[in-house]
């Protein structure tokens, strides 16, 4: 084998390897990327049935219901235009509270209830996840009834 030929094989082999890895990564990306929807976009029917996604908005005041003595909680996420009921059965994060921004991961069930398997509220009170802040700002300007000011985005 001439050195030139050998180098050609090396380059070809590396290209095939890189291509394979890239292809697999892209596939994993397409299958596992999670899109964000707010209640208005859900009401517009943008979510495919069974699709796992991130729901964001504000926890509506007075909507939190517990089953005493169990982990089960129900609450409503709103963007001031539409509401989505949420069901969750794990430990809620420290910063979760009514009137604060929240992001939840999960799926919609047949009745339109969001079954969350993860609830995130990892920022402090002054801070909203940016996508949530945008949804809330849009909702407020639409309803023209400011309830809370979404926190500034640092």
């Amino acid at each position: 084998m001439t050195p030139r030929r050998r180098r050609l094989y090396w380059v070809l082999g590396i290209l095939v390897g890189v291509g394979l890895a890239g292809g697999l990564a892209l596939r994993a990306f397409q299958q596992n990327v999670m899109f964000y929807f707010d209640p208005t976009r859900i009401a517009a029917g943008e979510v495919r049935p069974g699709q796992r996604f991130r729901l964001g908005g504000m926890v509506e005041k007075g909507s939190l219901q517990r089953t005493p003595g169990s982990l089960e909680v129900r609450f409503v996420v709103t963007d001031f235009r539409h509401q989505v009921p949420v069901h969750y059965a794990n430990v809620l994060p420290d910063l979760f509270r009514e009137g604060a921004g929240v992001v939840a991961h999960g799926r919609l069930d047949a009745n339109g209830t969001f079954i969350a398997d993860e609830v995130l509220a990892k920022h402090d009170e002054k801070y909203m996840p940016p996508e949530v802040a945008r949804s809330l700002a849009a909702g407020q300007s639409a309803s023209a009834a400011p309830l809370v000011t979404p926190g500034q985005v640092h």
Binding site: P3, A28, F29, F35, Q152
Partner: protein
């Protein structure tokens, strides 16, 4: 007044950094000895003034000077003294200052070791470091001044974020920055080599110890951060593929590739331009990482709009530094030709595969980290990328890489084949197969499909790394520091792989609501919730639960998880309680009062999780061993000859040729 002195010290440091950059880069070209002599002095002066500025800021924190805006935002008179000191790097402005302090520390180290390389080369490298420092000081002074006043001063401060009120916070950021910023030295040496257009590979020999040290610090910093997140954030995960974590992980991956590629360049004079590209990339990723984290771009593209001056400055800086280095590379890389060839199963091939696979792994992480930002900018919707993407995509390049480690360590240079090591490596594989399968199918039941693979690979790497040291000990030979370091680092890698494998496949997690007297079963362990009581701390109040754990009826440990509410910011924080052991961790964290006398609890059993951090630590120890041992073994006094690794025509490939006298290389 003192605070203003800190501000002035920073301005003086900026000017000295400018002088260091100018004289360092211009001096050698003009062959001006006097200009060269300015460089180390400017570097020392810069260090002194930056240290002074840091001292002033720390003093402002200790003396509760809330007329300083940054102190008022991040401290409080009720905060314990220790955390008032560490609060210095608790937010953006202070951590930029820490970044600069660490950069000047590395610069001082390079000044101290500059006698090991030609004066002009060292001056150029110091000049590049001065340039980096200049930009960062300018950035800090122009957009993130930590010495800004707040008049009238508030009566008390806003307190340090409770998450940061932890001993680990005292060491994690400095050590992480030592790693991040340490790659600036490799970067500067690479730039100096490219500016000079050096055709030899001496620069690789000079770059090796710096790269390995930075890499070791980064490994420690990442491991510390992971351990801290594990116990402090309260929910038991140790790696979340969070953008901030990825930002430190990518330079580490490329740094690992760089160490291995440097070995080839140093020993055989191959892969020269690839090594230079890796050195540039590692630091570029550090820069990108720093700014992604510090500017908040990753949290939101809109943070640019929130503070346009900061964002624009960052972009300009990235373009100048990275673009400049890449342009230099494009200009000079064609000079760096490698003449020698190598066989297919030689050490060179294995290291080439190691490099390619690590680079792919870094690219996978890079893509996943930046995808949300790119999608948002292009208006493709708001998306998030999490572990479901990272875990499988990362394994695709990394698993083959790990599988090749045990063989690659023993492959011979140039000619290929395993030589004498062939038999012991195969025996090690056999033993690893037996032990790995026994461990994954016997000891730990219900594994994932990949568990046996991870177990076998991990054990094989450890055994294979032991072959050389054991062989040398048996024959009564001395163990060179480089081989000892490599073996230690690879043993660390094997331990790390074992840890990850079993913690991923055999962890048990349960969220459950328990009333006093009720219990939950996790594997062999029974967690009994005995109730709790209210507590009061120095700057918080809270609730402490009591959870006693038994294994098959035998008491193991009593845990006291807490829920705290910090008064100043009103933040609620979960403080998990952990029972650590060599082979498993048990964790209990309090959720909240769910009514009817019950509390929600998160309970976890994680096997071998300590192996993950210990493995990373051992890798770092291996790196340090190689560097320190080598320095001891071959001291390089001024004027000494340096061994070169010129690829000799016709066979003899290892460093054998006498070195040319050290001189002004141009």
């Amino acid at each position: 007044m003192v605070v203003e002195l800190g501000h002035y010290a920073l301005i003086l440091a900026l000017m000295l950094a400018g002088a260091q950059a100018f004289f360092g880069l211009a001096g050698p070209s003009l062959r001006s000895e006097r200009w060269l002599a300015v460089v180390p002095s400017a570097a020392c002066g810069q260090f002194v003034f930056v240290a002074l500025a840091v001292g002033v800021l720390v003093h402002a924190f200790i003396s509760n000077d809330f007329s300083v805006h940054y102190v008022a935002e991040n401290s409080n008179s009720a905060l314990p003294l220790f955390y008032r000191v560490t609060a210095m790097w608790g937010a953006h402005e202070g951590s930029m200052l820490l970044w600069i302090l660490v950069l000047t520390l590395w610069t001082m180290a390079l000044v101290a070791r500059s006698h090991t390389m030609p004066a002009a080369f060292a001056a150029r490298a110091l000049g590049v470091l001065g340039l980096i420092s200049f930009f960062f000081l300018l950035f800090t002074l122009a957009t993130s001044n930590p010495f800004g006043r707040l008049i009238p001063a508030p009566p008390d401060g806003n307190d340090l974020n409770p998450v940061l009120q932890d001993p680990a916070f005292a060491v994690h950021p400095p050590i992480l920055y030592m790693g991040y910023v340490g790659f600036s030295v490799s970067f500067a040496l690479a730039c100096a080599a490219m500016i000079e257009g050096r055709r030899d590979q001496l620069w690789a020999q000079w770059m090796r110890p710096w790269t390995v040290m930075a890499w070791a610090f980064l490994a420690c910093g990442i491991a510390l951060g992971s351990w801290w997140a594990y116990y402090e954030l309260g929910w038991g995960g140790f790696w979340f593929w969070d953008p901030v974590e990825n930002a430190s992980f990518m330079p580490w991956l490329i740094g690992t590739a760089l160490i291995h590629s440097l070995a080839v360049t140093d020993k055989r004079g191959l892969f020269k331009s690839w090594t230079l590209l890796l050195a540039v990339t590692a630091f570029s990723l550090s820069l990108i990482g720093t700014f992604l984290v510090r500017s908040g771009v990753l949290v939101s593209v809109h943070s640019f709009a929130a503070d346009p001056s900061r964002g624009l400055f960052i972009l300009a800086l990235l373009v100048v530094m990275i673009g400049g280095a890449l342009a230099l590379y494009a200009w000079r890389a064609p000079l760096m030709k490698s003449a020698a060839g190598f066989d297919f199963v030689s050490r060179e091939s294995f290291l080439l595969f190691n490099n390619i696979l690590l680079a792919i792994a870094a690219a996978v992480v890079f893509g996943g980290t930046l995808a949300p930002m790119i999608a948002d900018t292009l208006g493709l919707g708001t998306l998030s990328v999490g572990p479901p993407y990272f875990n499988p995509s990362f394994l695709v390049p990394i698993l083959p890489m790990l599988a090749l480690v045990a063989l690659g360590m023993h492959a011979r240079w140039r000619r290929g084949g395993l030589g004498e090591a062939r038999r012991p490596v195969l025996i090690a594989l056999g033993v690893a197969l037996v032990l790995g399968l026994a461990l994954s199918l016997g000891v730990y039941a219900h594994p994932l499909k990949l568990t046996p693979v991870g177990a076998v690979v991990g054990i094989w790497i450890i055994l294979s790394a032991l072959i050389d040291p054991v062989d040398r000990l048996r024959r009564g030979l001395r163990l060179p520091a480089s081989i000892a370091g490599m073996s230690i680092a690879h043993i660390g890698l094997g331990i790390f792989v074992l840890g990850i494998t079993f913690v991923q496949s055999n962890t048990i997690e349960r969220d459950i609501a328990l009333k006093p007297g009720e219990s939950a079963q996790l594997g062999a362990y029974r967690f009994l919730y005995q109730g709790g009581a209210d507590i009061v701390g120095p700057n918080y109040e809270g609730f402490r639960g009591t959870v006693s754990i038994t294994r098959n009826g035998v008491p193991v440990r009593v845990l006291y998880p807490e829920k705290r509410r910090y008064w100043v910011q009103g933040t609620v924080q979960t403080t998990a309680a952990i029972a650590p052991a060599f082979n498993r961790d048990l964790l209990a964290a309090l959720g909240e009062d769910v009514g009817a006398g019950a509390w929600s609890l998160r309970l976890q059993y994680r096997p071998l999780i300590r192996f993950v951090w210990i493995g990373a630590l051992i890798m770092a120890i291996g790196g340090v061993t190689a560097v320190v041992g080598r320095r001891r073994a071959q001291p390089l006094p001024d004027g000494a000859t340096l061994p070169t690794a010129t690829a000799l025509p016709g066979g003899g490939s290892l460093p054998a040729a006498p070195a040319p006298p050290r001189g002004r290389a141009r």
